[in-house]
């Protein structure tokens, strides 16, 4: 057991966790009354889930050797489709409960449709994920604009708004949903047979195909699942922002890629741990909130994030080199 423990302590994730702790402590020292306040911890717990879920969605796709540039527009298209129905039903006299139910179902269905579109183009036509999702990004944005005419869809029942804005026993509902998603993604990726397949596809699709595994189908499903997660993030955003709009969360796209990579997911595919991505999301959240509370210029926050990305990857590189030399 001892060498196992030692190995774990030396893992990328452990290093990352250490970095997280250091940053957290640092922020706390810098701003003990505010950063460490219960209110702020809770506020971070409200903010983190939508981004965290998008990062997990991105991670799943990256593990198969792909990337999904349309992830945020999937979320917004889903919330617009569902939100459109929900607000119309509610305004038309349907009960709040029914409107919310239909709205949520349509949001999930909308995200699945986006996933099916991406999945088909990537898995069955064989277009490189980066290009396919680049096109899809524009396409989804176009549909969203067409539906909303650039405005926001609002007028949701208060029951829907509550999803993203209430806390149970002090724990925000979005956080509970996030923990649930996190557990599911963990089980899916690291424990289920399909997860195992995805890692193999990401490492070597040819061998995986030669092993009698339907790579196309698995890839297709991957994009479905990743988009479903984006849909869940969309529900949280729509609820937290009390409306649905095409541009919500557009700044999450590159952040989601950064989080996945920072968390140790290999951009080439085949490697990556759920826990790593989660720690990376935590790091980004703590830096973002912490620096905001301290009052650092937003642009410098971007600079700090960029530097951390480069530094962590450099550390990974140096560790790898060292291991290589030791061998």
């Amino acid at each position: 057991m001892k060498p196992e423990l030692k190995r774990r302590l030396k893992s990328k994730e452990a290093v990352l966790f250490l970095i997280f702790v250091v940053i957290f402590v640092f922020m706390s020292i810098l701003s003990p009354t505010r950063f460490l306040s219960l209110y702020n911890l809770q506020s971070m717990a409200y903010q983190l889930p939508e981004f965290g879920i998008l990062a997990l969605s991105m991670m799943i796709v990256i593990i198969t050797g792909g990337i999904n540039l349309s992830v945020t527009y999937t979320a917004t298209l889903a919330m617009i489709i569902g939100g459109f129905a929900m607000s119309h039903m509610f305004a038309g006299g349907s009960s709040a409960g029914l409107s919310v139910l239909v709205g949520i179902i349509l949001m999930l269905a909308g995200s699945l449709a986006c996933g099916a579109f991406n999945g088909y183009v990537i898995a069955y036509i064989g277009v490189t994920p980066m290009l396919a999702t680049l096109g899809a990004m524009t396409f989804f944005e176009g549909i969203s604009l067409q539906v909303t005419r650039g405005g926001a869809i609002s007028g949701f029942p208060i029951e829907f708004i509550k999803i993203g804005n209430t806390a149970v026993l002090g724990i925000p509902v979005p956080m509970i949903i996030f923990l649930f998603v996190l557990a599911t993604v963990y089980l899916f990726l690291e424990r289920s047979r399909m997860g195992a397949t995805l890692y193999m596809i990401g490492s070597n699709p040819k061998v995986t195909r030669y092993s009698g595994i339907n790579v196309r189908k698995n890839l297709f499903i991957t994009y479905l699942i990743a988009s479903l997660l984006a849909g869940i993030a969309g529900i949280l955003m729509a609820s937290r922002y009390n409306s649905a709009k095409e541009s919500y969360g557009s700044s999450y796209l590159l952040q989601a890629v950064s989080a996945a990579v920072l968390g140790g997911t290999s951009i080439a595919g085949g490697e990556g741990k759920v826990i790593g991505t989660v720690i990376a999301v935590l790091i980004i959240q703590v830096i973002s909130s912490g620096l905001n509370i301290i009052g650092l210029n937003r642009y410098l926050t971007n600079v700090v994030m960029g530097l951390i990305l480069i530094v962590v990857l450099t550390i990974n590189f140096l560790t790898r080199e060292k291991q290589f030399r030791n061998n």
Partner: protein
Amino acid sequence: MKKKVLAVLLVLMLCISMTWANGSSDKGSDELTIVVMPKLVGIPYFNASEVGAMQAGKDLGVNVIYTGPTTADAAEQVRMLEDLISKGVDAICVAPNDAAALTPVLMKAKSAGIAVLDWDTPADPNVVDLSIHQIDDKQYGEHIWDLLVEGMGDTGDYAIITGGLSAANLNSWIDAGLDYAKKTYPGLNLVTERIPSDEKQQVAYQKTLDLIKAYPNLKGVVGISTPAPLGAAQAVEEKGLSDVITVVGTSLPTDSGPYLADGSLKVGTLWDPSKLGYLTVVMAADFLKGNKPVDGQMVENVGKISVWPDGRTVIMGPPADFTKENYKTFNF
């Protein structure tokens, strides 16, 4: 392992040095702290507002934090507002990227005992204590169309170039203007729906070139958002059509100087954004001290303001029009 720790420390040092360089500290004081949040930072319009807001802070002896997202994303605004509530401030003045999106977080702010104001663009009227407007949206839209007709006459083809399709206040001006044109200037013919320019002069320029070719009888272009009229004017000037096509729109006098001078931009119209920033801080500080604005009140460095009967909508005043003749007299 040592190396890793070292690297981490380096990053931290960086954070510290930048933080201290910024000179902000966590220590609470008796000073009032007012947050002024634009839709996004780093564009000329909101930079000008920042100058006014900071000046007001200095004049009134209140602590002003001017911060906002780096892209016009409501989600990012919500996150920042949540952090600022954690930070503990006295008033939040926000120019929402989307009114509805900010309602929940603004309600949180209110329940945390923070005064909530909107400025530049209205937020949900149910959650704001005061609403500071540069101008009435409807009047402003109508004014722009009046300027257009002044240039091109009340008949003929025209097009609209807007900053972004989902920018709520730009849309409300355009919608007001279009409604007005339908009733007042039936001879005007809008050739195609509003065209987005992503808040970039380059894109506005390109789109105007395309418009000129697609609609050969084009007589007017309305540019909404500060870079749009400039891009349109540049295209018109290059095509040598300054006498044929009238370009009007919302632009800052300093940036639009060259285009006004060569006649490609007929007239720009905007209020002084720094005054708006100034007024916002003054109103917020007054509100925190328990003073309500009154109609016709004289605000130093801004001028006479009007207040709607609801008692919380403050209008700064009419916009200024910039022309070839007068643009040099403005300094924003």
